[in-house]
């Protein structure tokens, strides 16, 4: 699942998958701006058929936090 989430982030931001490290956070690269962040959230929700709880969105600021949240929501 980790690789799938990373692949989605890389595709949405139009960057190499190698650039998507665990520590990479929104705002770290020009592509991951607010529009990019919204696109990441909606694409993950759509492609993995999940819905992030609204109260969690504020804390989903890094690759790691997104992967952890997806794992938790999908009970992986």
């Amino acid at each position: 699942m980790e690789q799938r989430v990373k692949a989605i982030i890389a595709r949405v931001l139009n960057v190499e998958i190698g650039a998507i490290t665990d520590d990479l956070s929104s705002g770290d690269i020009p592509q991951w701006d607010s529009v990019g962040n919204l696109a990441i959230i909606s694409t993950i929700e759509q492609e993995l058929d999940i819905e992030f709880p609204l109260e969690d969105l504020f804390d989903l600021t890094s690759v790691r936090s997104l992967v952890d949240e997806v794992n938790q929501l999908m009970n992986v």
Partner: protein, 488 residues
Amino acid sequence: MFDAPHSQVLRLIAAHAVNTPDKVALVSGSRRVTYAQLAANVEGAAAYLHAHGIQPGDHILLSAQKELEFVYLYLGAHLLGVVNVVVDAAAPRERLDYIVGIVKPVALFGTAVDATGYNFTPFNEVTFDNTALDSKVLPSLKHTDVADVMFTTGTTGVPKGVYLSHANIAGSASNTNGFIGTCAHDIEALALPLSHSFGLGRLRCVLTVGATLVLVGNFANLKVFFNVIAQEHVTGFGMVPAVWQYIKRLSGKRIGQFADQLRYIEIGSAALPVEDKRLLMELFPHTRICMHYGLTEASRAMFCEFHESADNLESIGHPASNLVEVCILDDQGEPVADGIDGEICVRGNMVVSSYFLDTDNDGSFFGDWFRTGDWGHRGTDGCYYLTGRKKELINVGGEKVSPVTIERAITSLGVADCACIAIPDPNGVLGEVPKAFLLKGGVEIDIDELKQKLSQLLPPHEIPVQWEWVDELPRTSSGKIQRLKLKK
């Protein structure tokens, strides 16, 4: 200390460097720059440019993100009479090529996403510790001389270069500070891009009033932004409506925790629904929430403060200061009565007198009245109301997108023809987004494939979110696409 009779912005910064030398002017991460250091670096930047053979009247291109060195070079160029051409580091290559092609800058500074073939000097290779600038090298400059060329998006799809004089940028800062009430005690967080009129304007407002500006990368990581507000004791910031929707979506009402410390919020660049204005008033009952109406050509022409205008929040407000005039004119340039729609026209200290290219001046002015291309009226309450946009630009979260640019990219992929219009963002975040009408009869291409190929040609916000195949596109007798007819 340098002397800059032509630039009120520089004179005010120099005065702060003398009167409050240890006051922090700029914060970037762990770096803090006092007014004395800022003035010295500005002088150092001018000396650097002079030492590299750059002459007054030359144009330099600054590709900005949010670097301190950008600020030094930007202001140093003003000191030397060099004209800044400020572009976004993420600007598509086609836009960069166009701007460089017509401006012919003598040097390029900063970074660009695609700088292949260009000789950019990175900001960290510029030195600012040169010996003090010999005042003899400073030419005799006037406040009407050009300070910056900012590029906007024209209705024809080609960017328009706007000549901003030293008087224009000082006038806009003075009008804005006067309306908002920003003062030397303020600490502002700047997360807006410095390459746009709004962000660059905030920089000048804060530095001319002797306040402190904290540079923040962008709004993407709201935890970082909120931490900056708390740790730096921020008292004001600027945002576009799309950022407000983003803050609301990701953080709910958490930003209200700063209600007691935020003295002002400036909003601009696109429309904001009245219900959002009311929500902001509820969250920030004591904050001046100032929404501007303006264009690069007529920056911050009007303001509406929400609490003061609680009964007419639909309004775009009234002129920013007594040095700004607004008039509603008909197609012949004659004033129309209150309540009647016409073109919103502006004149005043911040209104440009010409474009970079003479051809762009055609039809842009009625005498000294600048024609905004926006449609609206003056109400019986004396406030102005925007009723529609004469121009057909698509306002994607504050980014003005020309339908022509998108249409050209689509037809370059083999689609017979197409027309793009603005539709409300189905997600309710960006304000407007593009919709494309594709003419049948050209290359048979799947929409997903089209989107994939377009992503190589256009930035993400310019890629249409809705698509429709049509048998014909409405056209005038002279063959021009009638985009407005596609709006149902």
